[in-house]
Symmetry: C2
Subunit: 150 residues, 2 copies
DNA sequence: CCTTGACCTTCCAATCACTGGAACGATTAC
DNA sequence: GTAATCGTTCCAGTGATTGGAAGGTCAAGG
């Protein structure tokens, strides 16, 4: 099996397979006399594992650890769960951050007429001298993160 | 006002101010005889605009456009709104993607005992030969994206 | 044997928005 | 005078790819 066939079988591009090898995520593949990389069905299995993990947003670093546990038949499921929980926590944090951005922006967008006139609450928020005024501007309708002072 | 003072006043690090200048996001600052960059309160205002826009997740490319509109007193609010809506759409798309990842993972985490034993639904999902089986594994409790065939 | 095309190889560069550091010059305070 | 703090430029790295250039290899057909 050469790299193109392994790519098709795993769904990981040949380019990416070489990259994974270069960073040590997968072991160096065997070679033919001409220098072509050679892959086994087991290699393809690992590549599919990586692809699925990447689809779930796991970083390469965590995938390395997951592969280690996958190969270790004496692993504890607690170790695997811990890695997954780290990742879930990161995901939730990023989601919350983006949710806040989106909510603020949608308030501003709603307040913007979106017509030929230049007046625009979005620019007013961005250009606000006072960073707190920017928050006020956004949370006039429904308060999101309350600055209780005042 | 030198770059350190502008950094303090704007909340944008000196390093980042130089970077913004290097990519053309802000105009080249004036210089003292010794080559030190010099900033005006107006420059600081722009830096704060950029900082607020970055906090809301706008890309540098969109911030360039927003600054252009900000300076253009004949702009239409519709143009500003359009840029904001592009960004909101991207945010929502990314949030949805991460929400799906997190939901799938939390199902797997819930199904994992997290004890000393090696058996683990998380690894089983990642190592699934059949990519559809991976979905099934995750959606056994509550189905997320139904594969209706079968 | 030669060509054509599809494959493989390596290496370099770009993405995005920074951040860090090295190596060195200027200013300021004591 | 000198030490600390600031400023300068330039280079490199981050994460996870993707693209391209330049060249070697393989299989098929004439």
């Amino acid at each position: 099996m050469n790299i193109g066939q392994a790519a098709k079988a795993s769904g990981v591009s040949a380019k990416l397979i070489r990259y994974y090898e270069s960073i040590g995520l997968i072991p160096e593949a065997g070679r033919t006399a001409a220098g072509y990389r050679v892959y086994t069905p087991q290699d393809v299995h690992i590549l599919r594992f990586i692809k699925r993990a990447r689809t779930l947003g796991f970083s390469i670093e965590r995938i390395e650890r997951l592969i280690g546990l996958w190969r270790d038949k004496d692993r504890s499921s607690a170790e695997v769960k811990a890695i997954a929980l780290e990742h879930v926590a990161e995901l939730e944090a990023k989601i919350a951050e983006m949710r806040a951005m989106s909510d603020t922006l949608r308030e501003l967008v709603n307040a913007c007429h979106g017509d030929h006139r230049p007046d625009c609450p979005i620019l007013r928020d961005l250009a606000a001298d006072d960073p707190v005024a920017a928050d006020d501007q956004a949370s006039r309708k429904g308060r999101v993160a309350g600055a209780s002072a005042g």
